[in-house]
């Protein structure tokens, strides 16, 4: 230990422990700052010299206009209203499809099979692999199955179903965890009181696991909202207001990608859309956190 070179390497490591997080924080704050600065700048009134009360009102008005009007000139002008609607519809399809499978699978894994049973292990292994599948591969799969084989073409339905496959492992894991968090003694008590399994599940387990289920669901929505690669060739690029679920609809993340890569002069609105996306994600995460807190709080109260 006392060799001089060993001491020097130890000292270098100690320094690195402080330098590495500084580098990471610096890079990420740079990214956030750039996003905020250019995102907000896209909404600022053009001619204002100083940021006074009038400019603040103008800023608010610009934001509302951006959120409620249709894109013009391939997104360089106008707003993102149809894109927000498409994004919302894609998420709704995703949740509507993933929720029954997620809840059913989690219920089965936590209530109806032993932890180390062969079938349960098989299902969990398969979900492990699914969780690792790259998003672009989900896109290929969605394109082959939903767009081509089922004949849905580029549509909100195809995109939403593809995302449903993607968020399924996350949904199942969080749901199974919240089911398992319900104390086993309560199930025993229910059985002793002559409850059927149906009643145990719907009167005892589900109500207590509800906050955890909501938190998992919100996390899944966040994951789906952030996704781009799986949607490029399942839900498509069309930026008009969708008329039905069978229309192609452009998600917010794809709008950002398209504006920054394929539309010269689309940078300002790419940043504005990215800011909207980040704000949405922060709100979603705050909601998930709040829901988890309620779960923990509820457990304390019961204990």
């Amino acid at each position: 230990m006392a060799r001089p070179d060993a001491r020097w390497s130890a000292r270098a490591l100690e320094a690195a422990v402080w330098i590495a997080p500084a580098i990471v924080a610096g890079m990420f704050l740079w990214l956030l700052g750039d996003l905020l600065a250019r995102g907000v700048a896209a909404f600022l009134p053009r001619e204002a010299d100083a940021f006074d009360f009038g400019a603040a009102i103008e800023l608010g008005r610009n934001i509302v206009a951006f959120l409620t009007s249709a894109p013009e000139r391939a997104g360089r002008g106008g707003g993102i209203a149809p894109i927000l609607v498409s994004t919302g519809l894609i998420l709704a399809v995703c949740i509507a499809a993933a929720l029954p499978f997620g809840l059913g699978t989690a219920l089965f894994l936590s209530e109806f099979v032993p932890l180390r049973s062969r079938f349960g292990t098989l299902v969990r292994r398969s979900l492990d692999v699914l969780a690792g599948v790259p998003s672009i591969v989900f896109g290929l799969f969605g394109n082959a199955l939903f767009c081509r084989l089922l004949g849905l073409r580029f549509s909100i339905l195809s995109g939403g179903l593809t995302l449903a496959c993607m968020v399924l492992p996350l949904l199942i894991r969080t749901a199974e965890e919240s089911f398992r968090a319900v104390p086993i003694s309560q199930r025993h008590a229910a059985a002793a009181a002559g409850f059927s399994q149906w009643s145990t599940v719907f009167r005892i387990v589900l109500p207590q696991a509800a906050p955890g289920l909501v938190a998992g669901l919100i996390l899944g929505i966040g994951r789906a909202l952030a996704e781009t690669a799986a949607l490029i060739f399942t839900s498509g690029y069309v930026d008009r207001m969708p008329g039905s679920l069978l229309d192609s609809g452009r998600a917010l993340s794809i709008h950002i990608y398209d504006l920054s890569m394929n539309v010269p002069g689309g940078n300002a609105h790419a940043y504005a859309s990215a800011l909207v996306l980040i704000v949405l994600l922060v709100l979603i995460n705050a909601a998930a956190r709040w829901s988890t807190m309620r779960l923990l709080h509820g457990q304390e109260r019961r204990a």
Binding site: M1, A10, E14, V17, P21, V24, F28, W30, L31, L35, P100, F101, L103, G104, T105, F108, E111, F112, V123, S126, L127, D128, V129, L130, A131, G132, V133, P134, S135, I136, V137, G139, L140, F141, A144, L145, C165, L168, P169, I172, R173, E177, S196, Q197, W198, S199, A226, T228, A229, I232, I254, I256, Y257, S260, M261, A270, A274, L277, I278, L281
Partner: protein
């Protein structure tokens, strides 16, 4: 309530129980089958290319000029494979070190409040969509690199953006690995009079090495599969780069760029790319699971 009158609620409870179990079993089967379906579709769709181009030509063809008819085009995947490997390896080299050091920082060095803030920031980093990382890379990093050595959109830009993206994975999993080291080891190190540096880097890190290995392997699986960020900052030229300032194209970017118009054997060739990607990622995830047995699913 209205549902009291529904037929379902007038069934005998044993029947209802059986229905509940049967339904949830069926749903679990479908969920488990999704991944099988994905593999089946990838193999099915890539079969024409594998049959008509053959696995060998993907490695021996000079260039990547795929056509709808396999006999006319050339299907060399080597430059794209090299692009994927180089970006991922570079990102892992950067993010592996930074991530493990970050985890050591939050767990052993930082004052409690600073550690809390830093952990919150890492969580936020994990939540930022890849397209936003790509946007930042494209608008900030690429012009900066272009000022040093044009064209800017390059292997280097891809490595930096990708490293930033996978850093939270490394940091969070490394932190979990440190947390799993028995408290006794740390206490014993302190009792022996070791300095903090010695107890962290000579006791805790070696004790946590299988967990750290898992962290790095899972992060590299994420790096291989990442699409948007590398698509936006790497320049997408299909050529083996001669330095970090040269543009590269990855497997994922190839799929994203060409899927929109690909027909016939070209389309099938893109599914071959997807199959290669899926195989690589699955092997990495399986390795990670073998190294750190008993992890819950979905933690990637």
């Amino acid at each position: 309530m209205w549902w009291r009158n529904c037929r379902l609620f007038r069934l005998r409870s044993a029947t209802r129980d059986r229905m509940l179990i049967g339904t949830s079993r069926a749903l679990a089967c479908v969920s488990a089958l999704v991944v099988v379906l994905i593999v089946a579709f990838l193999i099915g769709e890539s079969a024409p290319a594998l049959a008509r181009v053959g696995p060998v030509r993907f490695f021996t063809d000079e260039s990547w000029h795929p056509t709808a008819d396999a006999s006319a085009g050339s299907f060399g995947l080597v430059p794209t494979l090299v692009g994927t490997l180089l970006t991922s390896a570079g990102a892992i080299a950067l993010a592996g070190g930074l991530g493990i050091l970050s985890a050591a920082f939050t767990r052993f060095y930082a004052p409690r409040r600073l550690a809390g803030w830093y952990a919150l920031m890492v969580e936020l980093m994990a939540g930022v969509p890849s397209v936003v990382y790509g946007l930042w890379g494209l608008m900030v990093l690429v012009p900066l690199i272009a000022a040093v050595r044009p064209p800017g959109a390059s292997l280097l830009a891809g490595i930096v953006v990708l490293a930033l993206m996978i850093l939270p994975t490394v940091a969070l999993l490394a932190d979990a690995a440190f947390a799993a080291v028995p408290r006794d080891c740390v206490t014993a190190a302190a009792a022996l009079g070791l300095t903090r540096g010695a107890s962290v880097f000579r006791v805790v890190v070696p004790a946590a090495r299988s967990g750290l290995f898992t962290a790095v392997v899972l992060a590299s699986a994420r790096a291989l599969g990442e699409t948007m960020a590398v698509l936006m900052v790497c320049g997408n030229v299909v050529r083996i780069p001669r330095g970090v300032f040269d543009p590269v194209r990855t497997l994922t970017a190839t799929i994203a760029l060409e899927m929109g118009y690909a027909r016939g054997d070209h389309r099938a060739a893109l599914f071959v790319c997807g199959l290669v990607l899926l195989a690589a990622v699955t092997i990495l995830v399986a390795t990670a699971h073998a190294a750190g047995r008993g992890r819950p699913h979905g933690t990637t």
